[in-house]
Subunit: 108 residues, 2 copies
DNA sequence: ATTGTTAATCGCAAATATACGATGATTATT
DNA sequence: AATAATCATCGTATATTTGCGATTAACAAT
């Protein structure tokens, strides 16, 4: 991909955050985590209509995007939202929308 | 996919918006559109490090997600941000983040 | 009618994403 | 040590995404 060479870091970061949000399961996970203080993988698997392996994959995706982090509490693993990046995501998303919107509404 | 059966419409909508934002090229396009009032496909192709066919595809993705709309002005096509959905996206994204964040910061 | 301009679409290849069962790793309890 | 519990990872299948050259479609201007 040429991406690496060309788009700004800011743009790529925003795209990475957005991509992580780009699946219903991951949205649900984040919604859940935002409401609970702590929660284990098992809790998430239970509320999710997906196999454990699949949920684990989504958790990995969110972790790699930096949106959540997990700590092992044997034999469980607890996850929570990564505050710092959560706020970062919020901020740069906001910047995108703050740019405003064109005045002329198109029809199609 | 089971998605259709299970996740709420709100969740799926948010995921669809986010997915559309999940590529640097599409972020750039939206950034550009947010600043210009009108712009033609050609303008976007010029500022983008991608082939015309590829840019056209990204425009299609954004259009299908409802984030932009285009009007033919032969022989050109002008695009602009879809105000209504733009605000909708902004709103439901905001809801996600407004849920807050867990208090206990994890280490890993 | 022919030509030129613009942009979508087609067809293809390569890469990624999604989902799941099965297996493996870790650790507490017995 | 053996067992049970929890969760990540592997392997696999299928679907989607990304990118591009080539072609097509739509229309203006000659």
């Amino acid at each position: 991909m040429k991406d690496t060479l060309i788009f700004s870091e800011e743009t790529k970061l925003l795209a990475r955050f957005a991509k992580a949000l780009g699946h219903p399961a991951r949205i649900e996970i984040l919604n859940y985590l935002a409401k609970q203080n702590t929660c284990f993988t098992g809790d998430i698997v239970e509320i999710m209509p997906l196999a454990q392996a699949t949920v684990s994959q989504h958790l990995k995706a969110l972790k790699e995007a930096g949106l959540i982090c997990g700590t092992v509490q044997p034999p469980k693993v607890s996850y929570c939202i990564d505050q710092q990046n959560w706020i970062k995501a919020q901020t740069i998303l906001w910047q995108l929308f703050e740019n405003g919107c064109c005045k002329n509404q198109c029809t199609s």
